[in-house]
C-alpha cells in the first residue's frame, strides 16, 4: 500500500564502499588509473515519516544492493577524473509490492589538488571536486521501491585534509548538490500542492563528512572513521501513511568505518571494506550499510614528463 522512495539515501552512501571517492584526498599521478568493482548493501526496517520513526508491515525490511564499477584516472598533474556506474536492486521482505532493479546514475568528477603545504610536522592539503551524476537507466523515481532519485545532480565539494605524523590524518569535506528535475511516468502529482506535470523540481542539498584515520608506515593498511550528514533545502515531509517522494525533505546523520589494504599479493591490488549506520534522519530509512571493493591500480600511459615531485600518491 505504500510508496517508499527512501532508497535515495543509498546513492549518497555508496561512497563508503568505493575505492576512491570525490570526497577523499587520494590523488593519482598522471597516467595512473585505478579501476574498481564494488558492492554495497543497505537495509532498514524503520524509516522516518517526517520526523517520526516508524516501521511498516507492508515493507518489512527494505534491502538494497549496489553492484558498481568505476575508475579514477590521473588526467594531468594534480587533476584526476573519476567515474562510476552502479546497478541497484531493491527488495522488500514484506508486503505485495515488488522491488525494483536497474542501472542507476552514472557519475563523473574532476578532483583537483589545489594546495599542498607543510604545516607543523605534517602536510596540509586543500582539494576540490566538481562532478555530475546523471540517471543512466530508465528507472522510475517515484516507484514504490525506486532505485534512485532520477535527477541530475551537480556536486561541488571542498576537502581539507591534514596528514599528521605517525600516520594519523584528519579530513573535513563538504559538498553542495545542485539538482535538476526528475521525471515521472505520470503527469499529475501532489506534494504540498498539485502539479500538472511529469517534472519534479528537486531540492538542492548539502552533505559533509568528518573523517579521522590512520595509515601504517608502510602505507599498506588504512583505517578510518567517518561521521557525516546530509540535508536537503526545501523539500516536504512524508505525510502519515503516504509514501516517500523524490523531492522529500531528506535529512540524516550517519557514522561509518572504512578499512583498506593496498598491494595485496601484487602491487596495485587493493581491497576495501566499510560499514555504517544512519543515526538520525527525516524522510529516510534508518539504514545499516556494509560493503566492499576490490581495486587495481596501474599505469595507463607514461605520465612522468608531467610529474612533479610534489604530487602525492595514494600509497
Amino acid at each position: 500500500m505504500k510508496r517508499t522512495t527512501l532508497v535515495a539515501l543509498v546513492c549518497l552512501l555508496t561512497g563508503v564502499m568505493r575505492a576512491q571517492t570525490p570526497s577523499d584526498a587520494v590523488m593519482m599521478n598522471p597516467g595512473e588509473i585505478c579501476i574498481d568493482l564494488h558492492y554495497g548493501h543497505s537495509a532498514w526496517d524503520e524509516y522516518w515519516e517526517g520526523d517520526s520513526l516508524r516501521d511498516n508491515g507492508n515493507i518489512g525490511t527494505l534491502n538494497t544492493s549496489i553492484y558498481g564499477t568505476g575508475f579514477m584516472l590521473g588526467l594531468i598533474n594534480r587533476v584526476n577524473l573519476l567515474a562510476s556506474l552502479p546497478y541497484v536492486v531493491t527488495n522488500p521482505t514484506g508486503g505485495v509490492i515488488s522491488g525494483d532493479k536497474g542501472i542507476q546514475d552514472a557519475s563523473f568528477y574532476l578532483k583537483g589538488l589545489l594546495v599542498e603545504q607543510k604545516l607543523g610536522k605534517g602536510t596540509f592539503k586543500t582539494l576540490a571536486s566538481i562532478g555530475i551524476s546523471l540517471p543512466a537507466g530508465d528507472y522510475v523515481p517515484d516507484a514504490p521501491f525506486a532505485i534512485g532519485l532520477g535527477c541530475p545532480d551537480g556536486i561541488f565539494r571542498g576537502i581539507l585534509h591534514y596528514d599528521a605524523d605517525m600516520g594519523l590524518y584528519g579530513r573535513v569535506d563538504a559538498g553542495y548538490h545542485l539538482r535538476g528535475s526528475a521525471y515521472l511516468d505520470r503527469t499529475y502529482y501532489y506534494t504540498t500542492q498539485a502539479y500538472y506535470s511529469d517534472q519534479v523540481d528537486m531540492p538542492n542539498a548539502t552533505d559533509y563528512n568528518v573523517t579521522v584515520g590512520y595509515i601504517t608506515k608502510n602505507k599498506h593498511f588504512k583505517a578510518e572513521a567517518v561521521y557525516g550528514g546530509l540535508t536537503t533545502f526545501d523539500g516536504f515531509d512524508i505525510r502519515r501513511q503516504d509514501g516517500g517522494f523524490p523531492s522529500n525533505d531528506m535529512e540524516m546523520s550517519r557514522v561509518g568505518v572504512n578499512l583498506e589494504y593496498y598491494d595485496l599479493f601484487v602491487k596495485g591490488l587493493a581491497i576495501h571494506a566499510g560499514g555504517g549506520m544512519v543515526l538520525t534522519g527525516s524522510n529516510v530509512g534508518k539504514s545499516t550499510m556494509f560493503g566492499g571493493a576490490i581495486s587495481y591500480q596501474f599505469p595507463l600511459w607514461d605520465g612522468r614528463d608531467n610529474k612533479k615531485s610534489e604530487t602525492p600518491e595514494a600509497k
Binding site: 594534480r78 555530475i132 545542485l178 502529482y189
Partner: protein
Amino acid sequence: MKKLNYLVISGLAVSAFMASCTEDLPQYVGFEPYTYASLDEAGGTWQPILLTSGADTTLTAPVDVTDPSYISELEEVKGYNGSLSADEQEAVDYWGNNTVIRWQEIAQELIAKYNLAPSPNADGSYSSPSSLNPGVYPYFPFAHPPYATRVYAYLGAAQYDALITAWNMKYTYNRPAPYDVDNSISPEYPDNTLPSWPSEDATVAEVSSELLKFLFPLEVDYLNEMAAECRNSRKWAGMNVESDLVAGDAIGGFVFRKYKARAANDSMKFAQVDAATYNVMEAAAEATWGSMWPHWENLEVPQRPVGITPKYSSVTTWWIPSLEAVRPGPPPAMNSEEYKAAEAELLDLTKNCTREQERIAYNWGDGFGTNTPAGHWGKIAADYMVSYRMNPLRTARTYAYMNTAMMDAGISCWDTKYFYFYPRPPQANPEIKTLLGLPNFPSYTSGHATFSAAAGAVLAHIFPAEASEINGYVDEATESRIYGRIHFRFDCESGKTAGTSIGGYAVDRMMTDGAE
C-alpha cells in the same frame, strides 16, 4: 593555474546544465483566455441534473445600466481597469475565463491531499475518520475513490445546474457587460455578448466553494479565500460589476442547498460499515461463492478489518436503472481455464514487465495521494474542453455528465466487488508481486476500468472527433491494472464492459437535455 581552470570551467558547465532544468512547473491546466466557440444562448432552457428547470429560482430583475447604483458599481470596475496590482493581475491570469475548470482542479487537489488511508495505531488497530471530529487524526474525509467520485459528481452537477439557472436569468434580462456599457473599459479576457448579470463565475464560485466546504470541512478558510479571489477577479478583469456577482452568489447558494439536501440523504453515510456488518457480508459471499474462490481479504500488515465502503452500492445513483441491470456476471472459478490463463499472465508480468507496461501502470496508477482515476479523467476532459474553446456552461455540462457517470460506475462497481468478494491476485497466488499498492476492496471488477470506460463513453459522445484517442485512453487505463498486477484481466475487461454500458445511460440523458 591550469588545474583551476579545469575545475572552474567544469563547474560553470555543470551549473549551466542544472539551471537549464529548472523552471516554474504548472500547478493547473494552463490556458490563455479564449473566445468561446458558442455562447449557448438557449442554455437556460436545458434540462438540469437535479433541479426541475433553470427557472426553479428566479431573481428580482437587475437595475438598468443607467441607474445610479449601477453607475457607481461601474466606476469601481473602471478604477481597477488598467491599474491592477501584481497580485490582482496574477489572480486574473490564474482564474481565466473558465472558472469551472479551476474549481474542478481545486476539488482534485483537495482529493489528492485527503486521499490517504489511516495509519495503524500502536496496537495494530485502525481508527476511522469522523465527520464529527474532522480535525482529529485520521482526518475527515479519507478521499478514497468512492468518496472522490462522489465529490466530482456533486460538484460537476451542481455547477451545471447553477449555470443553467444563471443562463436563464442572463437571457431573461440581458444586462450588457461593463465593457459594453462603457467602452473605456478594456476587459482582460476576450469580450463577448454574454449578458453579465448574474455573473457565471460568481455563480460557480459560490456553488463550488459551498459544496467543497461541506465535503472538506477542514478547508473552509482556504475555500473562502479562493472564492473571494475568484469573485473579485471578475471586477479586476472588467467582466462584472458587484451586482452581477451578488446575483451569482444567490444562484450558487440556492443550488448548493439543493445538492446539500441530496447529499445528506444519498446514503453515503451508510457506505462505510462496522466490522460486525462487514463480517455478515463476507460470510454471505463465502456461502455463495466459497466453493469457487476464497473470499477476498485485505492483505495489509496489520490487516484492515473492513474494506472501503462495502455499502457504497446503496448510495443513490444518477442514471443507471438498477444495480442488477449493469452488474457483470460472476468471475471465473479458480479451477477454470480462464482463471488459470489470467493468473499465468500476472505471474509472467511479475517476472517480465516491459518498461512501456510499467509506464502505463504508473501513468494510470492514480492511487494514494493522487486525485484518483476520476480526477485523472477530469484533467483529460479539461484539455479537450480548452482546445474546443467551450464556454463555462458547456464545460460544466461535460463535467456533470462525465462525473455523474463515473459515480454511477463506482456505485455499480462497488456493488459488484462486494457481491462477489473476489480475491486480489497476490491473495490468490502470493508469487504475484505488484507494481502498485493493493487497494482495500475486492478485485472483481476493476474500479479504474469501470470509471474510465464510463468517462470515456461520455467524453467520446461530446468529442466524437476525439473518440479514437479517448477509447485508446480507456483501453490503456484498463490494461494498466493488469500491468500493475493488482487485477486479473477478467476484472478489467468486465469492468470496462460495465463502465461502457453505465456511461451509455448518461449519454442517453444528454441526448434529450436540450443541449444537442
